[in-house]
Symmetry: C2
Subunit: 371 residues, 2 copies
């Protein structure tokens, strides 16, 4: 059953590919727009192997102002966009901020302008918990609710924040202009979801689909995975003098399949409930320190993984643990997978695909998939 | 004496043209980049009539990614930019927010990318008091100091805020990257001024240079001027139920010549003191209600001007009065002209140039100029 067509920008990336899979499994048709800058088209084959369905790929760049017009003209049935395409390395954003403003902010402005032109009504935006910045600066904001005042602490977060305001201003204007013109039925079709997520983790339990960072990864679990395979000698722990029980920073790690499901539910909610623009946290509500994560992943691997303490990174904060109550109540979303499963799934993917998508997965995993 | 070359984007607009005049009078060479979307090239003749010096005009659009490369390639002596070019109507920004994000935010990203490529070190940015939003939401923030937490309440303000963060992130990155590379002398050359100004008012005392809004103006004084000339039947007062002594909103009106001087001093400060990125309020520190302004301008005109109360406008706030102490202390800047002078100068300009720059000014004003 097809329930509509969705454009997924950045659909070959880590979260984008899993969300594409979830959409296909739910009956949506999916068109991907991606420049393959930090990803591989091979993931599309894996999505097809798992779901039996294949998304269509447009290899376009979001900073090219003609890209989305081409996609929407070719697919007038698209009425919704899930927008992932972006640069995403916090550290790099401090060194090359203009690349981040250009790709993340200008790319999103391009997308919204094209959506307006082609009457593409719904946007689910891949925001980030980084928009909250250091939530401990405000009393009683851990775990972080959506009402927490925003205050990003690095250029990456600033670009996510700017896109949140652009989407909010755009959707509100579409609604107000149409309402003033007396067309309330058309007005309420315009909706936006700002999904602020915490730390995505894990891989597909089949072991054939996971995160495949090009170059040096910048998140804890992919780095730990490289230590486990010997690609990296040891993990650097950035700061052990935070005010947590073991001194390391606290994050909220969420299984990638749960996160993808949150995107699907948010899209369905926009299409059914017409809320205008609404922000939802997607996290587990449970925080884990870096040391706890090293232990959890070491258990999955079956041996202790070496690490070394290094200075704090600029822009990092003590605690990013979500309060996911709103998504639970409104979207009917809840996390179903544990941190242990995320670690096990990540290790299954990593040990079987040391070259990521640049090699075919072991025959036994493919055979298991067909059963 | 030439002290350097400065690019002024939007240099034919209201504040841009007066700042160009101030720069020329201080000995700077000025290159203007402007698409003449909401302005007239005739202002360049007026600047030359007053100062005896003529800025060069590049008629380019800031949303064209090649524009600034052309200007900087033609003028390798430019080391500083004063960046005005933007859409500026708060009300329109609520109806057409994507135009504002495209021109204001993307246009500024273009500019910064070009500055980076051509080593153009200093940027003075035309920000706005609107970045503070409703300062009464925080205790003890009227008059507003630069430390007031930012929180714009309309799309126009959101775009100014986004550009402030882009400039801050960009200048900080240039400095950090060069410092890490051991080149501290080069690092400190990169500087930015965020000038948050309050309500520009008035015209040149010669009566031949002033604000010339194309289409419907959206600020109080230009609207009042149209009422005085009969172009407009009456003034609409947007809200008389604010918590001020007479119920109308409080703004801080600053004479355009004082405001232009603030830009000159900020540029000189960047070039001499290398502060990195720094924000300065440019306002008088004195608030006036709408009713007080109607009275003040009526006195200048010599008769009472008709008005009618209308509902509040979305995004408007009660009080935007500046605390200008920082600019006084650091830039040595102070306002030298009164509100009465601003009203008199505006009326002199308005009554002598009912068609703005589309007609030549009266011969007696031109003759007086030569004395």
């Amino acid at each position: 059953m097809s329930v509509g067509s969705v454009l997924v920008t950045g659909g070959t990336g880590y979260i984008g590919s899993f969300t594409t899979l979830a959409l296909l499994e739910a009956g949506y048709k999916v068109v991907i727009a991606d420049n393959l800058y930090n990803s591989s088209a091979e993931v599309i084959n894996r999505i097809e192997l798992i779901s039996g369905k294949r998304p269509e790929l447009f290899q376009v760049d979001i900073t090219d102002p003609t890209s989305f017009d081409k996609v929407f003209a070719a697919h007038p049935d698209i009425d919704s966009v899930i927008h992932f395409a972006a640069l995403k390395a916090v550290g790099e954003s401090g060194e090359k901020p203009l690349d981040y403003y250009h790709v993340n902010v200008y790319g999103s402005i391009n997308l919204l302008r094209s959506m307006q032109k082609h009457n593409v009504y719904n946007i689910v935006f891949s925001s980030s918990a980084t928009v909250y910045g250091d939530a401990t600066r405000v009393p009683n904001m851990i775990p972080i609710p959506e009402e927490c005042p925003l205050g990003p602490t690095n250029p990456y977060g600033n670009t996510k924040f700017a896109v949140e305001t652009a989407i909010t201003d755009f959707i509100n204007a579409q609604r107000n202009n149409l309402t003033k013109a007396g067309n309330t039925a058309e007005a309420e079709k315009w909706n936006g979801a700002l999904l602020r997520y915490f730390n995505p983790a894990g891989a597909h339990p089949s072991g054939i689909m996971g995160e495949d960072p090009q170059g040096v990864p910048y998140n804890l679990l992919p780095l730990l995975a490289q230590v486990a395979t010997g690609k990296r000698e040891k993990l650097l722990v950035f700061g052990d003098d935070y005010a947590s029980h073991d001194g390391t920073a606290i994050r909220d790690y969420i299984h990638i399949l749960d996160l993808a499901q949150g995107h699907l539910l948010a899209l369905n909610y926009l299409r059914s409930n017409h809320p205008g623009v609404r922000a939802w946290n997607l996290g587990t509500g449970r925080g884990s320190t870096v040391y706890e994560m090293i232990k959890a992943f070491s258990r999955a691997v079956g041996r202790d993984l070496p690490y070394e303490v290094a200075p704090r990174r600029a822009g990092d904060v003590l605690d990013l643990t979500s309060n996911p109550a709103r998504a639970g109540k409104e979207l009917g979303w809840k996390t179903e997978r544990t941190l242990e499963q995320a670690c096990e799934d990540l290790w299954l993917w990593t040990k079987n695909n040391p070259q990521g998508y640049r090699q075919q997965p072991p025959a036994e995993l493919l055979a298991a998939l067909k059963k």
